[in-house]
Amino acid sequence: MLDHILSILIFFPAFAGIMGFMINKESMRAYGTAVAVIEFALSLWLWFAFDNNVSGMQFMEHIALVPSFGINYILGVDGISLFIIIMASFFTMIGIASLSPTHSIKNMIITLLFLQMTMIGVFAALDAIVFYVFWELSLVPMLYLIGAWGGPLRIYASVKFFLYTFTGSLVMLVGMLFMAYFFYQATGVWSFAILDWYRLVLPESFQLWLFAAFFIGFAIKVPMFPFHTWLPYAHGQAPTIGSVILAAVLLKMGTYAFIRFSLPLFPDASVFFMFPIAILAIIMIIYTAMIAYAQKDIKQVVAYSSVSHMGVIILGTFALNVEGISGSIFLMIAHGVVSGALFLLVGVIYDRRHTKLMSEFGGLAHVMPRYATIFGLMLMASVGMPLTINFVGEFLSLLGFYQQSHILTLLAGIAIVVGAIYMLTAFKKIFFGEVTNEKNKNLPDVSKRELLALIPLSIITVWLGIYPKPILDPINNSVEAVVQLMHNKATSPEAKMRIPNVSGLVITKTATKEAH
């Protein structure tokens, strides 16, 4: 069964979703939770069976789909994708379990299960076309989630979300077709397999164009600074579960794809674009932090802070060394946990008051002490307090980039500190002071159902903040292989210098793995 565990992980939720049409409406949430728990258990099993010492792909599956055009169904995980897959199944689980009652809940749960299929598919796919299939398919359930259960502007927000990402990924698709064509020219065989593409060394001019094509697709998904305008609408209008999954998992597709595609395929172009992208990332960190400060709506604050932290992830990725990339992958997990939790927390207060405006609140710490505590913890994690999960990732990312440029790192570091201001202000507005609004006097504290989602997240936040090793080790292993591959493939002297040579040992390991 372990040979096909990835396929099972991908298609089990979809199959369960189809079967879900037969379930009675009243029992639907229990059914959804049960499926998600099984799925999460399977993903934990995947972790258990995962060999931490191997840097290459594991649990590979290979089925020919369209061999004459080089499209194959290839799956595999390494340290980079493993934890994102686990996080995706984890968030679907707690998302469904803590779902507050809403209309047509049956459709919503089926949609979530389909969404889960696409999310895991993206992170497990090792064929560009299969990757693209899941990448695009993930838009549809999200479109429906935002459009059917969102706020008053939901249709505008959902269509904007769809069109933005759809446009970007079509440009990326052209890039993929070019890549396959170059592979065909070099070897005489069509192939869309990513591991095959890794072996291809392209001249720098081609790399620059292809990098740009892929960049548009990924940057819109992340979303990076000039392309970020769809995200506040999507977050602002989406139901809680939609925001949670969007922030925790869907955005990670973009940053993950940078590491999976852009860096190893185009090392010279990555070095060439390193500083422009770093500057964009820093603009993104500072600018969105400033916008966040000006927001009146608590959910928008969280949304912009989420974009701001994605900037740090990008910065770490484009440090192009082991510390930076490992840090950025760890930060992806951390960002998922923390911003997912923050969106859940916003959802808690929204369910009670049906408003998200900060001016409506104040002094909630007296009324809802447990809520205030968890919120405070997540907020500390979000601003990067040491001993919380975000700190590890941010520190490593910045440490990585420090080796490339001192000044930019300093700027980014200051920006993160400044970022603390808006979070603390928001916290002050909501929780401290006297209870001024009559409606807030008798708010019930977090219920058991909500704690079910929030307590595991709090535990993870602290646990991985203190002891990140179990996750960091496998990530490091795979990242070393990626960096070594980039170093070997780099053609320009500057790229050779910027991308460190990790060690000779790692290459032989990947090489034997690829030979399988």
Binding site: L137, T167, V174, L177, F178
Partner: protein, 505 residues
């Protein structure tokens, strides 16, 4: 004195005619049957048509076998040309017809289906299209084209509503103009080369090194105008939305597939050798036509308020997309054209059938046209299955993976990429993004808006009012073709590429 030429029956190679003659015999059979016993039910005629088309399909299999063994076949004084293009396109024509004809078995009564002549004309039309693709003789192509078109005009008019007459007349007028262009273009080529066989024309022009390039230009422009009308290429597209709106959804769906593939094959035969002769202005003109057709049609489609008109513009845009294959002119692009069209036919069959089963006889007040967007609002709440199926076809048309059209799209864009048309590839990709909006618009109406009061009461009956088992079966075929296209893709790709390559395209 004319003396009788001594022609042996052998050399005529009559077997090449078999696939076209079968539908003709079928049509005559239906007419004779009507004379012997009138007032028979439409289901009988549907089944008889299907049976004859199945025989036709069998004959095509025979030719396909012969082609893969002996290569290109000529027959009847070398007027018939059975090559890979002819065979693949005839497969598309016949199979699509088999899938479309059962759409006549509706729940509601439409009077055109009560005439046996409808089915006879339908079969005549198929035979016309088959003649058109299986020849490189400009006169026979013309005869096939006109046989098919005249039958088609009549079929549209038989729908018997005000708008259908308008549509038929409009289509007829435009078609007549196109026929004029065609004959004028053929005349120019004949005057230039003394031949009406496309391969002869190519050979003569090649031999004198395109000396009279000015006259070639006139001929090509005339031909482009003529096929522009048939393929609904902008700016010759103006009839399309009105004709689609006026004809029944089943007929409109049929028109979006079969006449166009026939015209594409002729265009491929005619323009390919000119493209390969490196005539720069032809490339420029075709490039402009392709880009304008794709883009403008997409933009018009954005503002439509009726789903059928939206699909009409979308089919113009798809035709523009596929026209790119003729511009690129490699084996890969020509194969991509056929693959795209095969996949497109399944998806469009589904989309138009879904409109067809929701066809009402009388329109409620909130609905200005047969299939206005408002009609579909909140469909997920009243009839979820139909909404999901319709959404599926829309996603496929938008080119979302893993549904049928996505594969056609990547193969087509890939063919642009491999022959160095980078900008064109990007334009094609971005056009898919524009198109995404109007397909999503229908999904927005179906899934995200609230249903109209009267629809809640009758439980979404409206959306399946016209459905019967036969129609549902056809939609089932369309769903299978759309969702599981990727399973058949590899064998399809190999089959089509081999046939196209062996015909020298």
């Amino acid at each position: 004195m004319l003396s009788l030429a001594n022609v042996s029956l052998e050399s005529l190679n009559l077997i090449t005619l078999a696939p076209m003659l079968i539908p003709v015999i079928g049509a005559l059979f239906i007419l004779v049957l009507d004379i012997i016993k009138g007032g028979l039910d439409k289901s009988l005629y549907v089944v008889i048509s299907i049976l004859f088309l199945a025989l036709d399909f069998g004959a095509l299999l025979e030719s396909a076998g012969a082609f893969s063994k002996d290569g290109i076949m000529l027959g009847i004084f070398d007027v018939m040309l059975i090559d890979g293009l002819a065979i693949i396109s005839q497969f598309i024509i016949v199979v699509t017809s088999i899938l479309f004809i059962p759409l006549a078995l509706t729940n509601k009564r439409f009077h055109e289906f009560s005439y046996p002549e409808f089915f006879a004309l339908f079969l005549f039309m198929i035979s016309g299209f088959q003649f058109m693709v299986a020849s490189d003789n400009l006169i026979l192509i013309f005869v096939g084209l006109e046989t098919a078109s005249l039958a088609l005009y009549t079929l549209i008019a038989m729908h018997n509503r005000d708008k259908s007459f308008e549509a038929a007349i409009k289509y007829f007028t435009m078609g007549a103009l196109a026929a004029g262009f065609y004959s004028f273009g053929s005349m120019v080529f004949y005057a230039l080369t003394g031949s009406i066989e496309i391969n002869q024309i190519a050979a003569v022009l090649e031999a004198n090194n395109y000396a009279d390039i000015g006259f070639v230009l006139i001929g090509v422009v005339m031909m482009l105008g003529s096929f522009g009308f048939k393929l609904s290429v902008v700016p010759f597209h103006t009839w399309t939305p009105d004709v689609y709106e006026g004809s029944s959804a089943a007929m409109a769906g049929y028109m979006s597939i079969v006449p166009k593939i026939a015209a594409f094959v002729v265009a491929m035969r005619l323009f390919e050798f000119l493209i390969h002769a490196n005539i720069v202005w032809l490339e420029v003109v075709l490039y402009a036509l392709v880009v304008i057709t794709m883009t403008a049609a997409n933009i018009w489609a954005l503002v439509q308020s009726d789903v059928k008109r939206m699909l009409a513009y979308s089919s113009i845009s798809h035709a523009g997309f596929v026209m790119a294959a003729i511009l690129i002119g490699t084996t890969q692009s020509n194969s991509a054209l056929f693959i795209y069209w095969i996949l497109f036919s399944f998806t469009n069959l589904g989309a138009f059938s879904m409109l067809w089963i929701s066809r009402q006889k009388e329109l409620p007040g909130y609905q200005k046209t047969d299939h206005s967007f408002e009609k579909f609002s909140g469909m997920i709440k009243t009839s979820p299955m139909a909404a999901i199926v319709m959404g599926l076809f829309m996603l496929s048309l938008a080119g979302l993976p893993p549904f049928a059209l996505f594969w056609g799209k990547i193969y087509m864009i890939s063919s642009a990429v491999t022959s160095g048309y980078t900008v064109l590839a990007l334009i094609m990709a971005l056009n898919s993004a524009i198109a995404g909006y109007y397909y999503i618009k229908l999904i927005v109406f179906m899934f995200m808006k609230d249903p109209i009061e009267s629809n809640i009461d009758n439980n979404g009956e409206l959306y399946v009012a016209n459905a019967t088992t036969a129609l549902k079966t056809i939609i089932g075929f369309a769903i299978i073709g759309t969702v599981f296209a990727f399973l058949a893709l590899d064998s399809l790709l190999e089959f089509v590429t081999a046939f196209v390559y062996n015909s020298g395209y």
